[in-house]
Symmetry: none
Subunit: 226 residues, 2 copies
């Protein structure tokens, strides 16, 4: 069951999409503006976002820009006929498709389906390698390289690093780290995390400051695409 996020300020549009998407077997969440879309994306996982460009509070482009910083979710943009949009800007943001209003729900769903199928196929053969400057992380192989040199990490260090990266640019509280990596039933010292962070930082040497301390909160893996 795919989760769809529909972002549009016009209730009618949302309704039409929801109705058809429900029918097609999607699970639909609605949002009325870019701001709340971002909030929702922080807290939940969606498989596809359908987003209007012109919206109050925060327009579609800016919202997508923010969301893409957090999670890589496929996006279909809705634009009113005659609305100018910058194609180049669009694909830089990783927008997968555009649909012009008025649209046929059937076609919109067809495109949504096509994108999801494509992503699914892609993820199968997808290279699970991510690079952050000289820091290369291969999730499938469970390897990490620093400046081309393979480094060894302990299980917890892998888990921690992978978790941080999967949530890159997101503030992670100690509580969250503990419950997500150690398990909700872990009742340990707060220093435990710090110690692992320390070891991890030492191991990734020159890239240690990708792991940022958030005083009073926890940690964050900070990296902006270039």
């Amino acid at each position: 069951m795919y989760n769809l996020l529909v972002v549009d300020d016009e209730p009618k549009i949302r309704e039409v999409i929801k109705e058809y998407a429900d029918f097609s077997g999607y699970n639909v969440t609605e949002a009325a503006d870019g701001m709340s879309a971002i909030g929702l994306c922080k807290l939940n996982d969606y498989d596809l976002i359908i987003m209007d460009i012109m919206m109050p509070k925060l327009d579609g482009y800016s919202a997508v820009k923010e969301i893409k910083k957090i999670k890589d979710i496929p996006v279909i943009m809705l634009s009113a006929r005659g609305e100018e949009y910058d194609k180049l800007f669009g694909f830089e943001l990783g927008i997968d498709d555009y649909v012009v209003k008025p649209f046929s729900p059937k076609e919109l769903m067809a495109r949504a389906n096509a994108i999801l199928i494509r992503k699914q196929n892609a993820s199968k053969s997808q290279n699970t390698v991510m690079t952050f400057d000289g820091l290369e992380v291969n999730f499938a192989a469970r390897t990490v390289s620093v400046d081309g040199e393979r480094i060894d990490l302990t299980p917890k260090e892998y888990e921690l690093l992978f978790y941080l990266i999967q949530n890159k640019n997101i503030a992670l509280s100690r509580d969250k780290l503990l419950s997500d990596i150690w398990g909700y039933d872990f009742f340990g010292d707060d220093r435990t995390i710090d110690t692992h962070i320390k070891n991890l930082r030492n191991n990734i040497g020159p890239y240690r400051n990708f792991i940022v301390t958030l005083r009073g909160v926890g940690y964050k893996f900070e990296y902006e695409e270039k």
Copy 2:
């Protein structure tokens, strides 16, 4: 060196793709319509076709249909936004991916790469014999040689080795190994795997360290092409 066939009626598009593909180390042939694409495919071998849907003389779909009758070549379809997609749905024609215009050449190439790698891997596993330095494994014959010398393995050892190799460079948890090799209904001791790994390692002697222990996780067959 891969051979790419780019089929589009717009010279500009062809040019953009060619430029980027050249740069990525592909050998590019251009065609302006479906008809000539078919002709080219009859006479030459291509590793991948990038084809526009909307073209004069013969549209992309029909061309692909014809080409697939002759040769099984991977295809990426280009579609202008607003074109009907319904047909693409089941990928019934054997289309591997499609990209919506306007596209980023970088992404197009990334997808082309992904498809070629996928195909390569697929064809490899069908290849019955694989060598890793002095370790030669023949899947069809179910034989393994170490430095030219045939070695005997027990059934489980074969299974284990074959499985590891088919998933080479991928971290495999004990759970996964157990359920995939022993069956989901196996409720055995964790040590079972370890023991078989031990025996396998002893049997492949000098190449024992291709089988890497992933502490806290499981095992992995690690080998980088030379």
